[in-house]
């Protein structure tokens, strides 16, 4: 149910409510950051976009960690256990 895509905040628009220009692979749209009030997004942050709203921030650290673990698949069984 829910098509949500990672996009990069390229420009905050403080005069325009809680909007920001977010870019996905060269495509730009104004996205409402209102759901991220508890941990506001900054330019350069990556956010998960759904129906024109940012749902959460994407953690580059967690993504990197996930890739690290996946890359070890098949090599070392111990490394896979969390």
């Amino acid at each position: 149910m829910c098509l949500a895509i990672p996009g990069k905040v390229v420009e905050l628009l403080p005069e325009d409510g809680n909007l920001a220009v977010v870019e996905v692979s060269g495509v730009r749209r104004k996205i409402d950051l209102g759901l991220l009030d508890d941990d506001p997004a900054k330019t350069g942050d990556w956010v998960l976009i759904h129906v024109g709203f940012a749902m959460s921030k994407i953690s580059e650290a967690d993504a990197a960690e996930q890739m690290r673990v996946l890359a070890l698949l098949g090599e070392d069984d111990d490394a896979l256990h969390r």
Binding site: L3, I5, S25, G26, V27, K30
Partner: protein
């Protein structure tokens, strides 16, 4: 060779889907138009008709152009009207020579808009090497046409040595694509302004005749079938081929070129690039012994640098377009019923 079953058209009214180039369009054409108009139109539905008059073989085609907005990054309705018809002839193996055009204009249309389109058509015709020999103009009441509709009819001569037909397609044949897909349809979608998306994407509208001729120069006997994947996209064109020849069209996902921004727009909106319209590309099925030469010729020709081999024809799965990924996942890509719609789920 299996032929498409006669489908009786049962819908009580015409919907937008019937013009979208997908399953609904095919049902309308096969189920209502072909049975009633009959004659040489029975059999696989090609982009153009080959006719013989007084011993001379000619190809003739017609196409209507309905687009909103009229002007968009990379082109306008006038260019589509010229290139689209030239391309229909090119992919049926003919060199367009003469066009006649007819306009349906909405009362209230600014003259300068019409003038702009006429300039665009004249320029496109010159680039494509065709003459516009005549036409017709009608004006309808305000609100009865989206500013301007253009129909163009093109006539041309067969390109020496090229004969295309789904019946000639064989397992083992290769599938070539002239360049990235999705540019035109996404440009139009964004240009309508309803989705509030911005991107540096333009329509790919152009005549593909030079590329077809470049390919024909080295591979004419091996060219089995060609199509320009307009409305309905690559998926629709290849599904039509699959239905017409009864064979499997097997593509490799990673080989299908899509520009980054087109891909971004498709991911954002939940669209499949293979369903998106193109106005400056064509897909060709070429016998294996000619495929490499054909591809080299395309890549060497101006505008053909992105040409690529995207797959091959197989016996199975019959009448189906199958896309495989390099990690071994496969999926069927069907025609859509109507226009591709953005989704949020």
């Amino acid at each position: 060779m299996p032929s498409s079953p006669k489908i009786r058209f049962r819908d009580t009214q015409i919907e937008m889907a019937h013009g979208a180039g997908g399953k609904a369009s095919r049902k309308l054409v096969e189920g209502l138009i072909v049975p009633l108009l009959g004659g040489p139109l029975t059999g696989p539905l090609g982009d153009a008709a080959q006719v013989s008059t007084n011993g001379t073989r000619l190809a003739i085609t017609t196409d209507s152009f309905v687009v909103k907005p009229l002007r968009f990054p990379g082109g306008s309705i006038g260019e589509l009207a010229v290139n689209g018809t030239v391309n229909d002839l090119a992919v049926s193996g003919a060199r367009a020579e003469t066009l006649v055009v007819s306009f349906i204009l909405e009362a209230g249309l600014a003259t300068e808009v019409l003038e702009e389109e006429l300039h665009a058509m004249a320029a496109a015709a010159q680039r494509a090497g065709v003459a516009i020999a005549g036409g017709d103009t009608k004006v309808v009441e305000h609100g009865k046409a989206d500013r301007m509709y253009i129909t163009s009819c093109g006539i041309g001569r067969p390109i020496e040595g090229v004969e295309v037909s789904p019946a000639s397609v064989r397992p083992g044949d290769r599938i070539l694509l002239s360049g990235p897909i999705g540019d035109h349809g996404i440009t139009i979608l964004l240009a309508r302004g309803e989705l509030d998306l911005e991107a540096d994407i333009c329509s790919d509208t152009r005549s593909v005749l030079p590329l077809v001729e470049a390919m024909a120069a080295v591979a004419a006997p091996g060219i089995r079938w060609m199509r320009d994947p307009t409305r309905g996209g690559l998926a629709t064109s290849l599904n039509e081929l699959a239905l017409d020849c009864g064979l499997g069209i097997c593509l490799t996902e990673e080989q299908i070129p899509v520009r980054d921004s087109v891909r971004g727009a498709c991911e954002l909106l939940g669209l499949e690039p293979m369903h998106i319209a193109n106005e400056g590309q064509f897909v060709a099925v070429v016998a294996p012994e000619f495929a490499e030469a054909a591809l080299d010729a395309l890549r060497a020709a101006p505008g053909g640098q992105d040409a690529v081999m995207i797959g091959e024809v197989r016996e199975k799965p019959a009448a189906t377009v199958l896309v495989s990924t390099s990690y071994g996942g496969t999926r069927v890509v069907d025609m859509l019923v109507g226009d591709p719609l953005p989704r949020i789920c």
